[in-house]
Symmetry: D2
Subunit: 439 residues, 4 copies
């Protein structure tokens, strides 16, 4: 176990990469990376160069024996890797901007990973990820795919159904939630056990255990006083106390798009109308600033501004996961994996996001304390059916599955809206959806 590890980062030119580099440096003693191989596409060459140089400066400053490679040759990056992490954005921020604007133009929520926007992103992303998996099957069949690319749950389901590669889908939301709950109780995160159940970006905290006692009811009570937890990039509307008590669980930040649909939509529409911009446009500006910083030849650490970007705990989550696999740690982390009966009301081959024991052979999900109640089950099932159809649409280039996916999504839920929005999505993403052209 003392060989030096090779990590390939697909989408290595991402502004998030310094997060990851910082983590790899911090944990090098227990996770001895020997080669960090950043790979990107030709359009991202300049960014990749900037990030590669920053990474090299960071490593140099650390004094650690990590070789940093920046390359456009994906096969070389993957060959012999121990971990392949993916943080790609097919179509770039321009595509994201379209994903957000198409639904808004029809009075629907336009969001990067949820609803019609997330659907478009899934269609573009899944074929690329499955291509990467095919290369891994050939060049690094034992490596783990650590997927950050959103929609992380749908991507995990596609990989698990259509590839033999061991993969884990990762999101910073669960670890963030756990940190916030720990803070609420004035405890260290490792002192509490939280049960999270659901799917990526639709995940309920169903149980909080402190010192062996179930304190979920107490937690839900405190929560409604505190205004609830949220994510950087989601408007922080407070949860109603009665609603939370009757739900019997803490929703995640993205639940606001469902449970507070009207207000969230109003807010998105207003800021779009006022500024003519969506979140993608803000991010573009932030990214430009970040790269300005990254280019400074004396910068050799992750700049504080990156946290504003919304990626808190990303590095933490990723390095912790790889480190626990490498060290056969057996600790519990909340990641996206194949269901296999853990959430009884979902298909066995669905991807779910829940507590897993991380062993050297990957994550093993653990049983829920009790079956999910109907108020959680119903919403979860309909969104999972949407995800199942979306995977089929992306893999087979099926307009039929695509139309049905959008129709049953609670944030669309109308076949006429679905047809209109689908037509625009397919049209505007034509360049990224060859499978649909073939039909």
């Amino acid at each position: 176990m003392n060989k030096m590890l090779k990590i390939a980062v697909i989408g290595g030119g991402s502004s998030y990469t310094p997060e990851l580099v910082e983590g790899l440096i911090r944990y090098h003693d227990t996770f001895p990376v020997g080669e960090l191989c950043l790979v990107d596409i030709a359009e991202g060459e300049e960014k990749l160069r900037v990030i590669g140089e920053l990474a090299r400066r960071m490593v140099e400053k650390s004094g650690l024996p990590i070789k940093v490679v920046a390359t456009l040759d994906r096969r070389e990056a993957i060959r012999g890797a121990d971990f392949v992490s993916t943080q790609i954005r097919v179509g770039g921020l321009d595509a994201r901007s379209r994903d957000e604007k198409i639904p808004l133009a029809h009075g629907l929520i336009g969001q990067e990973t949820t609803g019609a926007g997330g659907f478009a992103k899934a269609l573009r992303t899944i074929p690329v990820i499955l291509d990467i998996c095919k290369e891994m099957e050939e060049l690094a069949p034992e490596a783990f795919l650590i997927n950050f690319t959103n929609p992380a749950g749908i991507v995990t389901e596609a990989v698990s159904k259509y590839s033999s590669i061991r993969s884990v889908g990762l999101c910073n939301l669960p670890i963030g939630t756990k940190m916030q709950i720990a803070e609420l109780y004035g405890r260290a995160p490792e002192e509490l056990f939280i049960e999270m159940a659901g799917i990526n970006h639709l995940n309920w905290t169903t149980r909080v255990v402190l010192d062996g006692k179930d304190c979920t009811a107490d937690f839900l009570g405190r929560l409604s006083d505190s205004g609830g937890f949220t994510m950087k990039n989601i408007p922080d509307l407070a949860w109603d106390a009665d609603f939370i008590r009757s739900l019997g669980a803490l929703p995640c930040a993205y639940h606001r798009y469902y449970y507070m649909k009207s207000e969230m939509l109003a807010e998105l529409l207003e800021s779009y109308k006022e500024a003519g911009a969506t979140r993608a446009d803000d991010v573009k500006a932030v990214e430009a600033e970040l790269f300005e910083l990254y280019r400074q030849p004396d910068l050799a650490h992750k700049p504080a501004q990156l946290e504003q970007r919304g990626g808190a705990y990303y590095s933490e989550a990723a390095v912790q996961l790889m480190k626990s696999i490498y060290n056969d740690a057996g600790d519990i982390q909340i990641v996206n994996v194949r269901n296999g009966g853990i959430i009884a009301c979902l298909p066995d081959d669905a991807a779910i996001e829940t507590n897993c024991v991380i062993k050297a052979d990957g994550p093993h999900p653990i049983a829920l304390a009790s079956p999910l109640p109907p108020q959680i089950r119903g919403l979860l099932q309909v969104v999972k059916a949407y995800e199942e159809l979306t995977v089929e649409a992306a893999v087979r280039g099926s307009r039929e599955a695509a139309l049905q996916a959008l129709t049953i999504h609670p944030l669309v839920g109308d076949e006429r809206a679905a047809r209109t929005v689908l037509a625009e999505i397919l049209e505007q993403n034509k360049a990224y959806l060859p499978a649909f052209a073939a039909e």
Copy 2:
């Protein structure tokens, strides 16, 4: 098997009763009713008198030995009955009118049986039906409850979970659909086999078999040309051909409230704004006219105008069901029963609406040809979760279950709207919801 049967009709003063009487007369040779006992509440005494007299004139004209009793004593009506049919409207048309208007006032679909309107109706109806069941357990424990009262599926689930009485939920939509498909093919209804799967008012025709051949694809093709089937009381918007093909099944008329939510809502809002009235108000007018007719002392048959009322096939469905039970017929009818594993993606104790073999001990559901596809499964599961919560809310008087039920319903789907609408429903129906007062 040659004793004369006693039928108790709870809500006997309903304008639909002549339908039923006509059926009982028509099928008397194979379903020998000896006593027809119409019972109603004090507020309905005058209507009951009118209907009772019309019924007596119809029977007299037929020359059959059926004794017609009209009474306010429900226990006496139930005592010794072979079949108890329920066609009640707790709170009358005024309550229905409120059910329709409360959601509309908040920009939500206001419909008698679907969405927030149907939810309010369920809260009022379930306690009364369970009271009837308790009396049946005492006075006619072997009788079948034939329930027409909407929302018929939710009511069936409540009875099946909270009573030992054998009950069947009945709707005229499935038989109507079958008639329309038969007509499309120029065949007699008994010549075709259709598989319907789902729950009451959310039921998909998933398979059409003619002469032993599966002709579902052909049927869905023809259908999109024909504009689709509908119900009297639901705006007849045509189904899109692509949508139907990708769905792989025929939706029912009520599916328009889901799949065409925006247009249906717009239509409801417009007619409400224009006329200040909803469907309940129209029905009031129709009812008044009908009772005017019924009062004519020389009327001794079901008047043609009743069919305008929307109850086509109601008599057919009800008498066919009771007749098949009485005669151990073994024919297939589509009714509401306990799931018991037939629809694998729903709980075993859920009420479903599907093909059943009707034997002397009641309906036995038959297996589906294949599991429901995700596009059907997802919507079905979330609406069933709503129904499960609604049963709990009604039986336990639980505000918590009620709030969650409304929140996950696809026609509400927003906890803030749910809270507002729930508060108004509870307030305006206070007189009918003692269980909620107790909380």
Copy 3:
């Protein structure tokens, strides 16, 4: 629907065929067969000739326009058939004799369809039936396979898993049981509804309904007085009253090999020791006599002696099934079909034997009144696991699946016995098991 039908009978030289011919003649008005094509293998040519001539004489006497063909060309027989029925015995009675003797030689029950004997028969039979299915897929893809060949349940499971042909497995035991129960109550069989659940030759009568009332408890009480029902070829040991009451169901005749293992084994061993013969040897003698009769040129009806052979109701069962399919009858018959969730404790793709509605597109199983209790569930599950492994062993020629199949069978249940018996079975059936040679 008025074309004349073609029936192909594979194994047409069987002594049972006159049963079938008689049935086809009797029901010709509602099941208008135009061509009866008997096909057999070269080794059976003489028998086929005898049967063919007898069939022709029977038809001639009836005056019906049925063409009888006897041929060795299986493809011609299958081409264009509406129904293909299989009643083959791969390896003949000699193979059966070996199936019975190998287990007995090791102190295990040796029986034609159950335990190690039935296992050997399954290994020989499944490949032949799957070949027939392949020819049907080419030459008569819309035809139904009506399979009588034992072990009928295992064969049905193999066909359902490995062929696209619609098939039904058929046994005379369920219809016989129903007749006996009807007789016990002095009623016509169609007047009672019995629920049978399980798999072929391991089937429990779990419910008896008369006039719409569940009279199972009464039935089980009467039963223990009556000594129980049985089959011609199974020693008629009486069921213990306490045992039956605690079981809560009527076992089938073959259950004696399980529940009365010791006595049944003792009896088989004794008659083997005494006479040096098993049931197969008796049957050989009966067959010889029957064919002597069949050869008489003036015989033009099914001789009474055939019923001694054990095939009572075979014709009845087969013709009833084909007739109901042809006529879209919708009546209930107990046949072997794919589970599809009806018996919740078995895999969905397992073959089960239970009540089905017979429609033009085949049998549709109907829901059980309640889940099977543990005393039934446990035995059923272990025998079904044996069947699943046996199908795998036969299809893939897998010694590993074969060894495990025998090991968990309750009538073997010891891996050392399983290994010994398996080695002998494979050796003695080498000629019929090419798939195993390949391994």
Copy 4:
């Protein structure tokens, strides 16, 4: 978390207790027991006194602040306990001797925990354990019940179904197996991950993972060379290599009673015939010797002879479990818990034995890598059905459930043998089975 803990040991006079005391002393720094309360029944008073004194000497020698109490007052022992461990033997070794001899007298395997012997033990034990649980519900509702008493799986299922107490069933077989596998590979136990699935004493090792690689096939190959693992008290017959490979898993030592039924039975019968004694009689002799040793006033440690007794790792297993709960360790241990969907082919409320993460709120089972194959599934299901019926028999005093339990057990499997053996078991255990008297 720094209060001193109270442990109550029901059956504290057991010869195993010094094992436990040794463990409590060894791990005192991370599992700070302040009071060890040994309790026993009046018949065991002398043994309790001997053990109590030995325990006190052991503690004294250790210099640790553990108060040792020996008492006949069970309520006082339980009051305020943090952990209650049960290691009782209802009826003593005399009852065990009868459990072994009754089946042998009828040609059936007579074993302490398996088959008819284990069944008798379950009938006697379950009511006593449920009484203890009732006292815990009153006097120590937050305490964990750590149950060692056999049959540990059946007892766990009874507690989980009929009590609100958190309980874990514990056996030394899994930890022993893990130790042996580790030794085979020359590794420390914590370096390997083994998946065990099944129920107590019928548990398969389905997966061995070393350094993140699945090496199950390699392991099964090595195993058949090594002769297999076993337990002190089970004859060590070697597993056949072909059998193990086709099974695809390592059986546990108790599987020999199933897979090698004939030889095991022959061996038991022979030693019974030769010596007139069974294992219980041997144990009596060993116990007498042990207590002779324990009485020596200068003995202040666990004597080496105790390991001959068969209890290797018992202390290890028990203290590790309590320690991990107390410390919220999150390590993986193989214990008996409620299934909750982990083994999909068993009921949710069945007790299973499998890998669990041990947290402060108890064990959380983790998902299996894949569903159990049919060769494991079938045997597991039938034995679990036996266990389910046995729990019902014991709790309700039901002769009917008892008869069916024995009938379907693979080591009985014959209703006539079951009836005979059941009658003797009920007769000879009358004093311990009041529930059956009531019937």
